[in-house]
Structures are given as C-alpha cells and as structure tokens.
Symmetry: D2
Subunit: 348 residues, 4 copies
C-alpha cells in the first residue's frame, strides 16, 4: 500500500484569469461553429451583463468547481464587481472553498486512480477522491467540526444558508489561513452566497452534530424557505438580472425560480434578461440540468434575447468566458451592489 | 396562435409495471454487453436488497420522472414494500406528484415543441414545458397556493421537509382527487419522503408566500439540517441499507452522506451495502451526478460488492429494473418498515 | 497473472427476440415521455416500413453490436424478411459476425477490466477488449487469414465490399461452424451487405496480406465507389426506402447519401420515407453521428414525416424496437426482395 | 420564405493559431482538474511527438471540422512540419476543404435554424445545414462534378484514396481559388491524405457518375485495401509513430490498425508511441469512437505511456492543443518527412 504522502503531494493550482488576456482568442472563436461560437457569444452576453448598469448578476455554481482549480476566478469576479450574488451547491462553498480558506489543499490524483480500482486503498488511507482529485479526509473532518462550532455559537433560530455562510466569512476573517477564498471575499464585499441544499455538505455534518448535541433545547436550524425568500427579495428590489450558470442542478433551478416567486408575491418582476449556462448535461433525459434556456422561457423565467448554452466541461469554458469579461474591463465602470446589506433588516 | 386546448389534450399515462412481466427479458440481457448487462445486474442487486431481511431501501429521485410517466411504478413500490424511504428533488414530489394528486395532469407535447422555437407562444398561453411534456401553469399556481395554505395552518416552527410532505399526504387524504400518488401512498404506508432542497419547487413558492404574509410574526420554516438529521437517524437505527438511485444531484449526495453523518454522531454505521444508479450523466465533468459508486466508496459511503451504474435514460431502465424486482415477488416476504414512526418521537 | 482460460470462459449470449413479446411494454411507453415515447414511436415507424409494400428496408449497423449480443436479432430480421439490405462497419460483419460464424465466441469481461488498468496484462495474454467484452486474439488472427485466403481464390479485379462479403457467405456455407450468422443468412436470403469502410477490419488485414503477396501481379482490390454505385442502383430500382439505423458513422452517412447519388445519376429518387436512428451521440459536436434526421432533410436525404431519433444505448433499444416489429407480425405478409439478384448483372 | 442571400451572408472564418500564443493558458491548466488538465497533458504529448526525431505524426480527422473553422490550423500544421500523414473522413477533405479550395465558403447559421424546424425551407432553397453552419448546395454540386471530371481524366485502374486526393491537389494548384487548403498544402508538402471511406462524400458522387458513364468500359475504382496497405507501409518504414486524433470513427480505427497490419506482414512494428484523442463520445456505448486508448493497448495498437483522451468538443480543444505545440516552436527543428514520396514507387 502506498503512503498517504505519496498520494497527497501535488496540489491543485487555481487558474489566474487576470494574467491571461484571452480576448483575442475568444473573439476569433466568434466566427467559428459549435462550442467555440457558442462560447464567444456567452462571453459577450456576460460582458453585456457587466455593462448594463441596471443589471444585477447572479453566479450559479454546481459541480466540483473549486477543487478543480476555478476558485481564484470566482474570487476575482467578486473583487472586481463582476458578480452580485452567488447560488451554489454546498460542496463548492463549504467542503471546497471554506476548506481551502482554513489552509487545506486539494491534490492532483495520478491517472490510474480515475479507474476506481484503487478506491478501497484510498478508503483505508482516509483519502477521498473526486474523479482526478484527492482530499485528505482528516482535514475535511476538521472542516465539519468548525461548521459545528460556528453553529454552536449562534443564537438558536432559523437561519438562511446566506446568514450561516456569512458567519463562515466572519470566521475566516479571524481564523482563515488563505486569503484566496470565495466565502471570505464575498463577506468583505457584501456579496450574498446561497446554498439552497445546504445540508448535503460539510456544513450539514456540522449542523447535524449541533442539533444532536442540543437535543430538545433550542437549536440552530437552516431555513431553506428563507433562502428562497431572500433571493426573491433581491430580485424584487433590482430592475434587471442576469444569470451566469456553471452546471445545472439546484442552483440553476433556484435562481431561475425567483422570477416566479416575485410574481407570486405580487410584484411583476421581469424575466432574467441575460442567461448563460455552461454544461455538458444532455437535454434528452428531460432533467433540469440540461434543459434549454428557451424551455425556461416557457416558464416565464428567462428572456430569450440574450441567452446561450455552452457545451463544454467547465474548466475549459470558465477561464475563457470569465477571462474575456475581465479583460474587456467594463467592470471598472460598474458600481458595487453590496446586496447583503439589502437583506440585513430581514435578518437582524 | 394555437388554442390552449389544442396543446393540452393528450395526457401522459403512467407505466403499470404490475402488468408486464419483464423478468425473462431482463434475464436475457444478463449475458449481453454494455447497458443491457449492467441493467440486468442492477435489477438483480435491487432484488437482493428486497430479499435481504436486514436491508432498508432508500429510493432517490432526480430528474423529471413523475411527469414522464414513472409515477405508478413508485406508487406500486410503496404499496408492495419495495421501498422504505424516498429522497427526491422537490419538483418530482410537489410540482408533479402532489400536483397530480390534486387531480391535474401532464400533457404530451407534439414533437416540434421540443425545438424551443414555440416557447414564446407557450409562455403567452401560460403553458410550461418540460422537454416533450406540457403543464398548465394555472393549475400549477393552484398547487403553489395549496402548499401555502398547508403552511398557514401549521404551528410556526422549523419543519423537516419530511414533516411538511407528511402534511401534504394528510391534505391529499382529505382533498385529493387521484389516489395514484406517491405522497398519499407514502403517507399511508409511513414511508418518509425527504426533499433536501425543498424550496426550489412549488412548495417553495407556497412557503415564500407564507413567510411574506407572516412578516415579523412566528412562521413555518423548513429546516434542511433536520432533514439530514432525521435520515441519519434512520440509518443509525437500521442495520443495512441499499440505495436505488434514479438520476444524481442532491438526492444522491444527501442519501450517500448519511453514512458519514452517522459516523460523526459516534455510531459506526456500515456503508450502504447495495447501490444502483440509473443515469446518463458523464463521469468526465467531475460532478457528483455522474461520479461512480466506486468513487463514493473512497469516501466510505458505498460498499463496492453490490454496486452498479446503468447508463440509460430513466424511462427505459426503471420499468425494467423495478418491474423485474416486482415480478420476482420477493417483496411478498418482506416486512414493512414504517420508518416514519421511528421519527415521530423526534418531531412531536 | 491470470490464466487465459480464467478470462475466456463466460460467453456472450445473443438476445432471442422471438421469445419475448415486448409489444405491450412498447405500447405502454407510447404515452410516457423522453426516450420511452421516442422508442415507441421508432418501433411504430419500423413497423410501418414493414407494412408498406413499396418500401425497401436498409439496416445500418455501427458500434460493437454483434459482440454485444444483438446478432441473433439481426439474423432473425433477415430470416423474416424484415430487412432488404445492410450497411455496416466492417467490425460488426467481419471481426464479429463472420468470426462467430467460424465457430468462435465473444466473452464476458469481469467488471474490473473496464477500468483499463489490466489492459497490459490482456495484451500479454493475447486477449483483446471491447469495453466489457473479450476476444481471443489468436482466433481473430485465424479470421484475418481466412479473409486473405478468400481473396487469394478470387479473380483479381475490383470488388465491391458486397461482392466480397457474399464470398464470405459462400465460405461459411461450406466451412462455417455456427449457423447463426448474419453473413451466412444474408447470403442465403440474397440480402446484400455493404461495408463502405471495409479495410479497417479483419478483412482489411487479410486483403493487405493478399496484396502484399501479389506484389506487382494482378490482385483483388476493394472498390468503395462500386459499393456506393450498387446501393444507389438499389435505391433507383425501388420506389420507397426506409432506414433503421443503429449508431451513426459511415453507415448512416453512406445510406443517406444514396438519395443524392440517384439524383446525380439523373433519376429523381424520393427521399428516404422512413428513418429511425438509435444513438447516444450528442448533436452539439456537429458531427454526423449525432446530427438530427431533420438536418438530413435539409440535404434532401430524409423525409420528416416518419423520422425518429432514440436516445439509448443500442442493447436496450434494439431488442424492444425490433422485437415489437417482429411480434406485430406484419413481416408475414411482406414479400422478400432478394436485392442481391438485382446487382448480379452488374457484377457478373 | 427568406431569400437565399439572407441565409448565406455571414461566412465562417478560420482560427489562426499562429496569432494567439496560448502556451501560458495551457500551462496554467496543467495543475487544474478534469478536461483542462487532460488538455494540457495532451498538448504536452503532441509537443513530445514533434520533439521526438524518430516519430512520424499521423493526424486523424472525424466530424465536421473544416466547416467549423479549424481548417487553417491544419493547413498551418502541414506548413510547419507538425504532421506527416492525414487520415480523415471524406467530408472534411472533399466536401469541406477541397470545396473551399475551389473558392466556396461555409456560412454561419442563425441560432433558430439549429432547431430543425426550418429544414424544409432550407431544402427548398437548396441550402444544406450542418448544425449551426450552412452550405450552398449548388456549389456543392459543382464540387461533385469536379471530382467526377478528375476521375474521367485518370487512367482506369484501382486507386488508393491517397492517390486520388493527390490528383485533387494537382487540380487545386492549377484551378484553385483559395490557397488556404489542406489538400493543396498537403500536395505541395508531400503529406499523404487517406480517406478510408472515400465514397460517402462529394468525391463518391463524382465517382459514381464516372462509373455510371463508363458502363462496362474500364473505369477508375477506389481501392480501400490499397489505402490500408499504403499507410501500413509508412508504419513499416518509420521507427516510431504518434497519433493526434480529433474525433473517432473510421480514421481512428484505420490509423490504429496499421500496427497490427504491419505485424501481419511479418514486421514487428512498435505500437503507436504517442496518442491523443479529442472527443465527446461516451465510453459506455462500447463503440470505437469513445473507447479508451488503454483499450487500444489491449489490442496491441497504442502504447500507454503517452496517451491522453480529452473530453471536449473539437473547436475548443484544437486551437489550444495545436496552438500550444505551434508556439512551443519545436517544429522548427523537425525534418520534413515527405511521406508521399515513399509511396510513389508503389503507385507508379
């Protein structure tokens, strides 16, 4: 059996979009076909969102994106006012970003591990695998514990995931060991982060431990309806919105749904004016992840003038699309939204 | 513009597995290759779960399965003690099953609508599209309202989605117009249903309306941590478990995670002994939905002796796998678990 | 290292569609959604081809279908006048079907071999792998040699692949060891088989050896233009045609193209009236394999009234579609075409 | 109905890899995960092929690559000694590259055409569609005719596709209207091009017309066995080989097979030392296009030290991989092979 250290030595390094001007490459793709043309159009739509002074930008994250080396791109998007709210799976925000904020790393798995034939050995070594990437499970348990401690120190009441993640930002500001963190940077920039399925991640483990320890006493609970209510309020207070979606799943569904929720609350909110989705999911299984943005327009969620699906695995497309918008530089003239402050009266 | 009635006339009809003995077909596939052999092995593993007297069976549902005509299969699985708990996306349980329980239907879309070119027209007609299936949006709004009313009549406190869905079962028993309902049948059989991302569905709309109306007053909240805690408790009280997963997403992640959660609560729960997943998701984007069950074993979640992925769109594979197990008849000797009762002391 | 015999012991067994009446299952799928409804529609279209007295049926085979257990279905289709011509990759016809006609078998690979981690060991043992299926490479070499011998005994001139495959049928009739063979049965029923890319298979190896041995002397050559000309002639002599395509690739392209070729030869042949394709290929890479049959209609190749793509791996869909048409029994009233005879004057 | 000119106005423009130094971007992807890391490794392997003085490089092309804007990349690879032989589908070489060499263009289709709902209209306008790209069918017919004329002027005997394509190069040198052509540039650089399934393309139409006109007289035929024999001879005369495969299908199969063919001719040729494949094809349908390069090693075709699959649609990955190798500049020290000259004694 190999040693743990042999497996956990070569770390994932995050793509720095600020160092690579991909504008000419993306522009050259604009007159090609298939994914390249779609990607160029998506990049243009994202840039339009940034230029549109009335448009709030919601970034949706599904899939293992942070462990895959895309973290710094999202951090730089926050730093440069290229995003106003984030809706994500719990894994990206807690198990991967908060985890790295605590000073831990993701590791490159050697090719043969992808086969799955060595997963028993990894199990014995307490190493977790995400396709071609490895995680030290002992470090992940520390991450679970810290989320439990954060819960222990909160007033026992229902929280939105946004409120809880904000507390994680507070924690990182005090105890963090790596400033390159979405949770930290979003906290500082008042960019709210929502994880509508918050319990199926490291934070869920911490919260289960918290609730178990509290027994019949008052405890912290995670109100997913409040998540939805809060994001809907942001929609109601903003004229226009655009979605930059990476992967599908709950974040896509949740962010699209707020248009309908606003309508139900009696406000005639416009459909999302811009929408971009990067995914390899197939439309033919009828599931939401691969469903077209045109289909979303039948539900009254997404307008169809500026929408584009891009058929690509995310690690190839995100550096090009986000990098294009970064180097176009229109974020320089964009006001920061600090949307979290709009929600504080609600939560205080 | 076509008339609404022209679009909404041909209804989806649910596959009745009790009428088709597919055992010989599935057995013949066992000595072939590719998906057919994998499907036959998956059917055998599901049958083993049913025969294993110690094994509790958790059914995971992601994707638009109910609107696609698979509802009756799941209803019959509940009726025949072939499942002990369900973890699902909200859409399947609320927007589609509860919706049909209220007497509404799903409609077959004609081929050309799949293109998306007519979604503007559908939008104007208040018709929602799921790939090749149509929904009357006005009926869906009624469904939203009813979930809001259910919330209005509950004590204002944090609920697990399971508790809330149980109340939906109570509602259907009184007011339902279609006895073929997962929510209703699960209520009657004390099969708990969890929707860990409950807010991104019709129930979410109802709950947002409820919370908005309550303002600063006490209100119903949906505690996703409690969901996780409850399902973990079921794992802790049961010797062995098996997963029958259709699609990936949050249900897959949530159900797999309870092994780790039990461990965190100090109980050395065994990994899921059996696991089957039907999906067309691709392993190469590194996301959870397509990740192998071997990969889950590196996380200590799934044992690898009886695990099988099946590469097929669900409407083809589910009738064969579930039908195989039904006609093998081993459920006749299986005790009902009535797992909801294990959770009542917790929730009361 | 494991022994060869340990790997090569469990044989692939071919699905016998005549023993499973799948008509009720397929009919039940007709009112569902996604792949099941598409499959039911495709089965209906194939049945329409059989009922249409004017329609010649061309079966297209791509992918490893014979080694996967689908051989007997195609053999039974020939026996029961459900197909009039076959266009295939060389591998299906030579390496797999002719190979089995010689008495050799395909073997079931155990799960772990799919990982690829044991391919070096297989290489050393002279075992070839197709995903989850194994082949004895020594037997495949015998197959190569026999095709070389067949070439050695022919007059040295250009042959269409159809002519050459016909000679393989003659060979099997004399020396074959397994009567369940597409090549043999097609020979007996005068169903022409075309492999437009004949050289990239076992026959190619035999022919290279033949040409190498002949040096500057006259030799057998394989005229792919003649293939195209012959199939085009069949189209020109037939009123209507239907395509039953399994997989995409060269067979799909070749069979669709004959409409245009007939037009170029001055005859206004109608587009293929019926077309069904089973594939998991994705439309988004722009390649022919996943391109829609609607797209083919822009090229004037396929009519759009009766066309249907089915998103499914072939081993699941073929038994249901072909089995449906078989048990509907409309082939009983169908005249045999014996299309090979139409081509004999050309080739003699 | 729209006018033809409205559809055929915006031309596809080919990516110029010489103008975009993507080396830093690709290097940054080397420490990420999923497709980006695989792509970086593939780029490195291709660069190794170029640096390896003993290695002949075979480029395999499947899918609609030329019409998609990748033509100039392949032209520049020929010009800069980055490739020694090409194996392709006929469509890329004849319908698309030779077609553009004649002065014709490919056109950008507007988004809505992708739906297929307008293919009837396109058909009436004599416009052919490839996903999001349009072709003037009248121009394509001219291309068909020219290939027929080329055949008419040749000695009537069996030709390899390579020989025929060489004559197309001669034609372009005399009559071509666009110097940016793979066929032309390969002719000038003595880079042989093989289309093993030559008949299912524009050249096939020309050759069918030729054979039809010749009737019983001697005629040009296309010997696919000779193709295979010729490429095998190149393998036998070269020490080492590497494959750069874009898409799968016949080109992949054909190029891999020459190792076995060489062995059958009694020469112990080494396996392909390097192999890279860009594809979105799925391994789970068992077809060759998506089969792993490890699987090919069980057949003794590809060595496993330097092999890499990249999961990406080609228009995204090819500019990065080929561009990386171009800007690394190791081709500057690479000798030209002029492999066509090795085959002339055979064909003369």
């Amino acid at each position: 059996m190999a040693d743990r250290k042999q497996y956990l030595k070569d770390t994932i390094q995050h793509f720095d979009m600020t160092r690579h001007n991909v504008v000419p490459v993306v522009e050259a793709m604009n007159k090609m076909a298939f994914s390249s043309r779609d990607l160029a159009r998506a990049a243009d739509i994202y840039d339009r969102m940034i230029k549109d002074k009335d448009c709030g930008i919601i970034l949706c994250l599904a899939g293992s994106l942070i462990s895959a080396g895309l973290k710094k791109i999202f951090v730089d998007m926050i730093r440069n006012r290229m995003v106003d709210a984030i809706v994500s799976t719990g894994a990206n925000i807690v198990d991967q970003d908060f985890f790295e904020g605590l000073g831990f790393k993701h590791y490159i798995a050697e090719e043969k591990l992808k086969s799955g034939n060595f997963d028993g050995e990894l199990r014995d070594l307490m190493i977790d695998r995400i396709y071609d990437t490895l995680i030290d499970e002992e470090e992940l348990r520390i991450c679970d514990e810290i989320t439990g401690k954060i819960a222990d120190e909160l007033d026992p009441r229902p929280y939105s995931s946004r409120e809880f993640i904000r507390e994680m930002g507070v924690y990182l500001q005090k105890h963090g060991k790596n400033p390159e963190s979405i949770v930290l940077e979003a906290f500082k920039a008042d960019v709210p982060i929502f994880c509508p399925a918050f319990s199926d991640c490291s934070a869920g483990f911490g919260l289960v431990a918290h609730q178990h320890a509290r027994g019949d006493q008052p405890k912290v609970s995670l109100d997913s309806a409040k998540d939805f209510y809060e994001l809907t309020q942001l929609k109601m207070k903003t004229k226009e919105t655009g979605l930059f979606m990476i992967g599908g799943g709950v974040p896509k569904n949740f962010a699209q749904d707020i248009v309908v929720a606003a309508e139900i609350l009696g406000q005639d909110a416009p459909m999302h004016k811009y929408a971009v989705q990067i995914t390899v999911a197939d439309v033919r299984d009828g599931a939401l992840s691969g469903s077209t943005l045109k289909e979303a327009s039948s539900w009254g969620k997404v307008d169809t003038v500026f929408e584009q699906m891009v058929y690509s695995e995310a690690t190839l497309a995100v550096p090009l699309i986000a990098g294009y918008a970064y180097h176009k530089g229109n974020w320089k003239n964009r006001a920061e939204r600090r949307w979290s402050r709009l929600l504080e009266p609600v939560t205080a």
